[in-house]
């Protein structure tokens, strides 16, 4: 079925493609789930559709309402598209120094942008969003890190799609951000596939990102449940860039850097299975395409140059 009544109905149902050149052997195979084939080009479309639908069903969102979100990433872009088609106003709060592509994409989808001072970084944007929310108690914040509909989107759609297309699946690998994908797909596959391994690839950013004043200011998403996972890898910028480039060079898939981190973990578990003489079908998520990251310059030059280009950035 490739005909849909509207763009929202075309969310999900993404292709799962084999990677014959990167797979270690005919018995240990890698499969990429192309989430960049969603309406706005990222896996976040699934969460945006499900979070907005859940808020509608709960009576939290009514036609003409305003959604407020302090993000300019894939979630913001996905929410902007869904909000436009469902008749909501979306207000994004972001620092004034965010990349031109992000601002243009959000405006193109009809989102309004409130800029916070560049000097305050994301913190200032969050603060400003909180102030705005206080002034407008009728505006709705969806909070993807704690929103159960984020994980449910993947339990109801991504997980079943994977099992339908790859009944012999032995490993699932995805990125760990809000944890929605891993929690949803992980719970579904654990119910259906005995011995399934659920592997998280967590981006390890530059030190600036970890420059918290002390440990107690850390944060673990409310959605996260460690018992769903079997392993969790930390993947540094260099490995993520290396694998992102390898994916396009060897298999022709042009992806963002978070996908490189995921592939790095997928290759690790695949090669371990090979070494142990076990068959394996390792499915992993291609979270988005590389388009939005071209301006970083990290697709060209040496790995050291790419690493330096991504310095201090949240590349996943």
């Amino acid at each position: 079925m490739a005909r849909f009544d509207s763009l929202l109905d075309a969310c999900g149902g993404t292709p799962l493609v084999g990677l014959p050149r990167l797979s270690p052997s005919p018995e240990v195979r890698l499969w990429a789930k192309l989430e960049d084939r969603n309406p706005t080009g990222s896996i976040k479309d699934r969460a945006a559709v499900w979070m907005i639908r859940a808020a509608e069903e709960a009576g939290r969102l009514r036609p003409g309402d305003t959604i407020l979100e302090p993000t300019s990433g894939n979630t913001g872009i996905a929410l902007a598209m869904v909000a436009k088609l469902r008749g909501y106003r979306l207000v994004c709060v972001m620092p004034e120094n965010v990349s031109a592509e992000r601002t243009q994409l959000l405006r193109m989808y009809g989102a309004e942008i409130i800029f916070s001072p560049a000097a305050g970084g994301s913190n200032a944007a969050v603060k400003m969003a909180r102030q705005i929310a206080e002034e407008h108690p009728d505006w709705v914040m969806l909070n993807q890190y704690a929103n159960e509909a984020n994980a449910r989107a993947h339990y109801e759609t991504t997980g079943p799609e994977l099992l339908r297309d790859l009944p012999t699946i032995t490993h699932f690998v995805a990125g760990l951000g809000t944890t929605g994908t891993l929690m949803g797909v992980g719970r579904y596959l654990r119910e259906k596939v005995e011995g399934i391994e659920i592997i998280a690839a967590e981006p390890r950013y530059g030190e600036l990102v970890y420059g918290l004043r002390n440990i107690d200011e850390g944060y673990v998403p409310e959605l996260y449940d460690a018992t769903v996972l079997t392993r969790r890898f930390s993947v540094g910028t260099r490995d993520a860039v290396l694998r992102t480039r390898q994916l396009v060079e060897v298999e022709g898939i042009f992806a963002g850097f978070s996908t490189g981190a995921i592939l790095h973990a997928a290759l690790a578990v695949a090669h371990q299975a090979l070494k142990e003489g076990r068959r394996a079908d390792v499915a992993f998520i291609v979270a988005d395409g590389g388009w939005k990251y071209l301006s970083t310059g990290a697709y060209a030059g040496t790995l050291a140059e790419a690493e330096s280009a991504l310095e201090g950035q949240l590349w996943a």
């Binding site: 990433g73 994301s122 107690d216 540094g236 201090g312 590349w315």
Partner: protein
């Protein structure tokens, strides 16, 4: 037996500013005891009073989270690399501006905001940006 331990910026006050220190032990618990003897107080920032890993601390052995390797009982071998990192919100959907710590999208939750978004994490991170010229993307 020699194990390289990468220490995050916020804990370097315990290691005399050193980014990488060396310790020994057959398990993570032994390593942390060994490190605490060299750098008093460090273990107390990583392990709670009831003897479990601090909720907002992630420790990795050769890039794998120790919570899936037996936590403090995780086995160590000569030549392993141990990385300590604070837990921060990250991942897809967050800002990709320099200096941001990606907590922004958590702002929607009423309850968690003071933990995730507040507390000036990011002004601390952004401010450090200009001073720490040598800091690298990725701890390794």
């Amino acid at each position: 037996m020699s194990i390289e331990v990468r220490v995050p910026t916020i804990l370097r006050s315990y290691t005399g500013g050193q980014k990488v220190v060396t310790g020994s032990g057959d398990t993570l618990a032994e390593l942390l005891a060994n490190l605490d003897a060299q750098y008093p107080g460090l273990r107390g920032r990583l392990v709670t009073e009831d003897g479990t890993l601090h909720k907002f601390v992630n420790i990795y052995v050769n890039d794998e989270d120790v919570r899936f390797l037996g936590a403090l009982d995780a086995k160590l071998n000569d030549g392993d690399t141990v990385t300590v990192l604070p837990a921060v919100a990250g991942g897809a959907g967050n800002m990709s501006t320099a200096g941001g710590a990606g907590n922004m999208s958590t702002a929607g939750g009423a309850g968690n905001m003071s933990v995730a978004g507040g507390a000036g994490n990011m002004s601390a991170a952004g401010g450090a940006g200009n001073k720490i010229g040598a800091s690298q993307t990725g701890v390794s």
